[in-house]
């Protein structure tokens, strides 16, 4: 019971946070929608854990909770990989900018022998 109260409180606070601070953090619509829907899903599954049983049974997994756990791990790993790729791309772009500035800094020391 304590676990359910904690998880539901966390999910509700996250949704409220997203709703009220959407403007401030300039969250995109799709990110906002994913965040709200996934946390609504968490609330539903926490309140009614049996709803996952038919799906888990369909995939040959005994318990609904296991199905949720496996799915969450796969989604989190996918998100991590995506974020890593995005970070790599941003790092490369940053390097290009820093290099460009270093090479084109006409008033800098490199354009003349010091």
């Amino acid at each position: 019971m304590i676990f359910q109260i904690l998880v539901i409180s966390y999910a509700v606070l996250t949704i409220l946070n997203a709703v009220f601070r959407r403007q401030k953090f300039q969250i995109t619509f799709w990110f906002f929608a994913s965040l709200v829907l996934s946390h609504l899903g968490i609330i539903v599954i926490t309140l009614f854990p049996n709803v996952t049983y038919p799906i888990a049974h369909f995939f040959g997994i005994g318990r609904g909770a296991d199905f949720v756990l496996y799915t969450a791990v796969i989604i989190i790993l996918r998100i991590l990989f995506y974020l890593y790729s995005q970070n790599r791309r941003l790092e490369q772009q940053l390097t290009h900018i820093v290099r460009h500035l270093a090479l084109t800094e006409k008033e800098g020391n490199h354009s003349k022998r010091s």
């Binding site: 790599r88 790092e91 490369q92 940053l94 390097t95 820093v98 290099r99 500035l101 270093a102 090479l103 800094e105 800098g108 020391n109 490199h110 022998r113 010091s114």
Partner: protein, 226 residues
């Protein structure tokens, strides 16, 4: 024979205590020195003020691979015929540069790679040697190139070879990326024995044991990103 302009590219990150000495020693042999300050937070560049060198500055630290690529691009723009990469922490001996340039001048190779393991008797601590050997083994297995020293920053390139170098790995992993470029571009290379000065400063500042773990990590990362 036409004199070939040699540009020495020195990547620098927080080397204020030794940098001036390193550059002065280089200048006594090679007049075209390019110092790339990779976002140092100390006064590295100030220590070389007044010396007849080219200085470039990365506004933020981007790693040795990125700094070398910047220096190579600059040296190419300035018309370098031969390019040398050299560490700024004083662990390399400028007198080794000529040994690296010889096979390129003679047309025997397009790239020369310094190796600390070709000659016996290097004063490398055992644990560090084992870690480096692990990196070498990994590189040999992943690239098939019989390299004896994978992370030695003392290298020389012909202009044509340098034009084919484009490091996309900004940090340590650029060293293993180089071997992939050698292979992909079918560049002829030679390994040349060089001396590494293991001073208390270079041991402290240079490749710490932790850095060597990072090298191994970067090798794994590079093989993953291939």
């Amino acid at each position: 024979m036409r004199k070939m302009t040699v540009f020495v590219v020195v990547s620098v990150f927080n080397e204020a205590p030794v940098l001036r000495g390193v550059i002065e020693e280089l200048l006594s042999l090679y007049p075209h020195v390019v110092v790339v300050d990779d976002g140092s937070t100390d006064e590295s560049l100030k220590t070389v003020e007044g010396l007849p060198i080219f200085t470039l500055r990365h506004l933020v630290n981007r790693g040795q691979g990125a700094a070398l690529q910047t220096g190579i691009a600059f040296a190419m723009e300035k018309g370098a015929a031969l390019l040398v990469t050299f560490d700024g922490d004083g662990q390399h001996d400028p007198r080794d540069i000529e040994k690296l340039l010889t096979p390129i001048r003679s047309g025997e190779a397009e790239v020369s790679l310094g190796s600390r393991f070709l000659e016996k008797g290097s004063r490398l601590p055992l644990f560090r040697r084992l870690l480096l050997q692990g990196g070498i083994l990994f590189t040999r297995l992943s690239t098939g190139l019989p390299i004896t020293d994978t992370h030695n920053g003392l290298r020389a390139f012909s202009r044509e070879a340098a034009s084919k170098i484009n490091f996309t790995m900004d940090r340590m992993a650029h060293a293993s990326e180089l071997f992939e470029i050698l292979q992909k571009e079918k560049l002829r290379y030679r390994e040349v024995p060089v001396t590494i000065r293991y001073t208390s400063y270079s041991l402290h500042k240079g490749q710490s044991t932790w850095d060597l773990f990072r090298i191994l990590g970067s090798l794994l990362e590079r093989s993953f990103l291939k």
